[in-house]
Subunit: 355 residues, 5 copies
């Protein structure tokens, strides 16, 4: 988990600002370029080899969505950006997969970075991938690290002309894509919530050494989410309140709705953090309780038998003149005394409520 949080080589000190350096793992061999171009009537979808085939999309009146999978092909990205007039600092941000979510209003276009997260069922942990959006006059460009994303349902809606997406502009397209990213946060949080509830039972009924490691792991995953979610909220607040002419008035309620969602995500996340640290406290108190129980058993046994052993020891001494030893019922009297002492101890512990 932590590996993801602090990666070495996030910065290459000494490079001039605006230098494109791909930061992060190279996840695929060859970058993949696809685009969709549509309005209420027409619809085109294509996968192309050369980025030049996307250039005409800049000047059409239809809505165009260009998607790039793979960020290590710096030439491809800089060509595309050059043609669409994207500032070098933005290009630098696109290929830095360790960037925190942000929004930049460049007047001609809006630039957003989000973290697209997914719950990896097999590794039982959060997978995170960076996705950047450029929202221009009539186009949306998205950059992802690798194929496979949460946008398939939106592509299907565009293809089948379902919902209102084909009737709306590119701002609504950008909203739909971002909303798909945000919705996935709920899924991840629900998974974490379920884990926390399972932990509750484990902490109460059978806490072991691994319990604390699991709690620690959940805590780290929540820390990781936190790093993505709080700046996400900032991005969406600024979008909702944006004065940019790229966001049409009728789309604003949708962004406001998305803002409500991020607030709810933050609410859930913070509640989970509270619950998790509550479980940690319970674990500690359960450790103390177990220690108490162990100590009680030891104390009861030792306290009952140590005095009795002492008595036996006394009559095991070899003094020649020990009158009791000659008494006929001496042995039985001593056994009786031992019994009484033992019972008295038991009563003492009963009164102390240790038994």
């Amino acid at each position: 988990m932590a590996q993801k949080m602090f990666r070495k080589g996030m910065k290459k000190p000494g490079l001039p600002p605006g230098s494109m350096v791909h930061i992060g793992d190279k996840k695929i061999e060859k970058a993949k370029i696809t685009f969709m171009d549509y309005d209420d009537q027409k619809f085109t979808e294509k996968e192309v080899d050369s980025v030049k085939m996307c250039y005409p999309l800049k000047d059409t009146r239809t809505v165009s969505w260009i998607n790039i999978d793979g960020l290590h092909d710096l030439d491809l990205i800089s060509c595309l950006c050059e043609h669409f007039g994207i500032h070098p600092l933005i290009q630098e941000d696109v290929v830095n997969t360790e960037h925190r979510p942000k929004i930049e209003d460049m007047e001609e276009y809006l630039f957003m970075i989000l973290k697209m997260i997914k719950w990896d069922e097999q590794k039982n942990e959060i997978q995170s991938e960076q996705v950047s959006f450029i929202l221009g006059s009539n186009y949306v460009v998205t950059f992802q690290e690798q194929p496979g994303d949460v946008f398939e349902a939106i592509r299907e809606r565009i293809r089948t002309h379902s919902g209102r997406i084909r009737k709306m502009g590119n701002d609504y397209l950008a909203y739909s894509l971002m909303d798909a990213v945000v919705d996935e946060y709920f899924v991840v949080l629900e998974n974490l919530g379920e884990k926390i509830q399972n932990m509750e039972e484990e902490v109460l009924l059978s806490p072991t050494t691994s319990t604390i490691q699991k709690l620690h792991r959940i805590k780290n995953q929540l820390l990781f989410l936190r790093k993505s979610v709080w700046p996400l909220r900032e991005v969406i607040t600024r979008l909702e309140r944006s004065e940019s002419k790229l966001i049409k008035k009728q789309t604003v309620p949708y962004f406001r709705d998305m803002y409500d969602n991020t607030i709810q995500i933050i609410d859930m996340m913070e509640t989970m953090r509270d619950m998790n640290s509550g479980l940690f406290d319970m674990y500690l108190s359960s450790l103390s309780n177990k220690m108490n129980e162990v100590m009680k058993v030891l104390t009861i046994i030792a306290t009952i038998f140590i005095p009795l052993t002492f008595i036996a020891g006394v009559y095991g001494m070899n003094f020649r003149n020990m009158p009791e030893l000659g008494w006929k019922w001496g042995y039985f009297a001593v056994l009786g005394i031992m019994l009484i002492v033992g019972l008295w101890m038991v009563l003492f512990f009963k009164r102390k409520k240790w038994l």
Copy 2:
């Protein structure tokens, strides 16, 4: 408790925004539609089968209150909303019973979501139900998950023309309904407060393993309340400061009063959180104290008898040449020494204030 906090399936990723999906349990079979229509003179109350019978209420000059119990009948709700001109995103929020309290000023109407909570005496926990309000020009529409609510007293006041409710507009009606919801928070908090006070005694006098579970439960219930109350305050702040023409000037003091109430609720809740975590700390310190007591008993017994047992052991050795064994008063001398050692130990513990 926690089950309620994180429900699976809160979001259906992939659906277009504005799609109505009923989220939550289906609590009743058939949605129930009732309305009240009144002014200072006239009064009508009806339960109707078809939502269409409510349509005329939109254009009367009287105050109309339409109440829907049951949120799973999406057709009914969308028909009603369509007729009253409610935005699709609002419709989506109405049927999502996991939504956090919010307010939306749509100029034509105000939309509010609140959490209606109740103390369930049998399960000894908080029951929560979502209730949404639409405050239009002359009507109020309320959506609830199931029949049974905190509004019965208000209905009675309307029916019997008691108080000033029949003389006031629909903003006062909305206020009355919301105030009834808020008042119930006091009842729930008083119940929790009573539980916390009982816990105080339990922690001080007889802490057991279940004590910590009860404290944890109360903590979770306060976390749950918190998730409802803080956004509630936000809702009411925005209502109080609202510029909306739907809130008449003479109703504003009532909303301000309601705002005071939510602040008091938050105050009480935060004080309870402080007290609860204070009890947790006391529980831990009482565990430590008990451990100390157990250890002391063990130490006293062991420290007194182990040396004595050693002495007895020495004279239990079978060496042929052990002069003391032949002494006449050897046995009694050893008994005397043992007594002295024992008493000296007791004095030592007295001085240490362990006894």
Copy 3:
């Protein structure tokens, strides 16, 4: 203590807003009405039976101070309020003795609720009583739960024409009354501070189980104070910055001075909270220290004598062929060995600094 914090029946859900319900204990049998009417020359003081005798005071040019002791006589209070034109919601607040401190600017008059606290020497705890102020054009009305208050010194000053009070308006009177309430907070805090300092010694020198209960009690009393003081500050801030024409310009420095006092009260209170929780931590560490000491004694005794007892046990065995038993100096040799082992153990503990 906690009893005071969460009283049952704070709200009667179902009542229309503005309904007067007396909340709290009925502390006296019959409400008592007194008034003072004065200017620089004249002075009248009376206790009256009927509230109607106060009505003329509304229209005099002199400063009038009407004081009501006892809040359960709803008729009396509503008559008075009706005559002085007080809003029903304000009336409701007056008789709700669980209301938090607040200020309401109704243009015609200002309404303030404060908590008048006192240190109860006998019960060794804080006594709290609600007092409400209405500051009108030329009158001040105060409502208290029972006779006995912190205003006696002010009455005396009015009677004897000492200080500048008879020369100033009713805003100065209101200030003087509120200042008397605020000054009492210092007295209470000084008492708590003294208790905390005593606790410091107790925690360091002789912590017992009751220590933690005392710390818990102080913590709760500080929590209780907090609930009164923070809103108090809010009230006074709003008074100081008030645009109300009821506060004359020359009185503003006095309110600013009172504001400084509340800030100092909050400072002291928060410092005390810090110190109290610091004492709690010290108590825990002192518990651990004591446990360590107990364990050390046990360990030293057991570690020294258990091996010795074992040696004695060996030579207590009854094997026929045990050559050492026949040796002449065997017994003394074993005693010597025991001595050496024992001393070696003692040295070991010395080196570990346990002795």
Copy 4:
């Protein structure tokens, strides 16, 4: 330490506002009045007996600095204040040595209260003294509790005409005096910082019961500083942003510089608080570690010898028919078994890494 924090008798409830009451210890017998009067050319310095001799200074064009040591002589102070036109509430604040740092802009003059602290090498604690400043049109009046202050270097600079002080106005004088007070905070913090660093070593190497008391003492001293520093920052912020015509434009950068210094003081103080509480945590963990070590020793010894003692006990039984007792090598066989059991135990602990 704590004695200083909460002094009894900080308020005398019942007194009319603006009444001068000296609060605090009377530290000297007779108040001492000194003044300096200077401009670029002239310079006078005098100690006077009667406050009346300072009256002419109000109307000169030169810069005058009047310093009063001793606050119990209420007549003296009220005469002076009366003559310089100081508001009664300000007079009350001057003689209340428990007042928190504050600033009051009375248009004709500025009034500031600061805490002048010093590190008392002998008592090893912070000494605090209240100093008030009145900055008028051409004069500065300072009130101190007793002779001895941090201003000597400034007096010297005025006398010897060094630096730019004689060329600047009385606002620069006030700045210089306040700056001298603020600089002393660094000295005190450096002393505390050194103590904390020493504690670090003590906590790591040889924690004792007195360690925790020292940490507690440092914590309280930081709490005490905090009460002085945070309002100090407020005072200086308001001075820096002041619109008052008493602060000339060319002096503003100096106040800004002083503001930077207070921020740095707060930074250092908060870092120290963090470090101190970190040391407390380390102390607790070191207690736990020591307990663990003690327990291990006990467990190892007991676990090795208790079973061996049992074996010895078995062959110490007096049954007539115990065949082993008659075997020739029985004794040696048992000794051998004991050796094996003992070694096996040692290996067990080695494997557990307890040895």
Copy 5:
């Protein structure tokens, strides 16, 4: 580490404000003066002996960067500052190496203080050096404590005319220098992050006493960083939002980018703080766990053998009349009973899950 945090002698109380005093260690013998002077065509680089040779640079139209290494040569610095018209208070700040990062807008020039940090591989700790910037109309002056800095790559870019630096103004130069400083923070944080991740393993697998010291050390290093980073953010925020005419409009996006970087640094740092304190908690719980394990071993052994030893003790008594001793199978019966008791104990512990 802590040595760096609180150095003695940070302030020399008593000195007039604006007095230059070198605070900090004297790190080199002789101050070193170098400058670069360039525009798109021309380029000069020189190391000079006398500061006077830099005076002409003030009036050229080219961009000049003067760098001073060594702050103890007060004459040199004051000469330079005098010529460039720098305020005495700024001069004082330049030579105080303990100053916190700040920015001062003096209209004619901007003054910034930053902390240039580096990871010292050998000492395994953070090295910090103060660097100040003066950004004037066409020049940048930088002051460092000693030679060796993070600016070499920028010098190289200027010399080789690579990137856009030679085409941009002196504000871009200042940005480049500050950005180089900020980039180094990432390197340091990555090193700390790696250490924290290593600690995680150590805490989980083999916690020792030195573990806690390492965690404490990391905590202190994060505290140290914090003291540099938060004010750094403030500096850059104010630069980004600056109205100063010294920052050209085209450079603003670069400063905004740098602002994003500081936010990310703060994010990482705070996450690390959270993780570090989480590791501390885990360490404590692992201590408790180990104690539990130790106690269990002791309890099991003692509880099994103490009763058996007692039985053996009973039959070791020397009473003459002990019928069992004469029984033929008495010895074997007792051995059998012991076995049963022992097994029963083992089963008891199995049921308790201690074995």
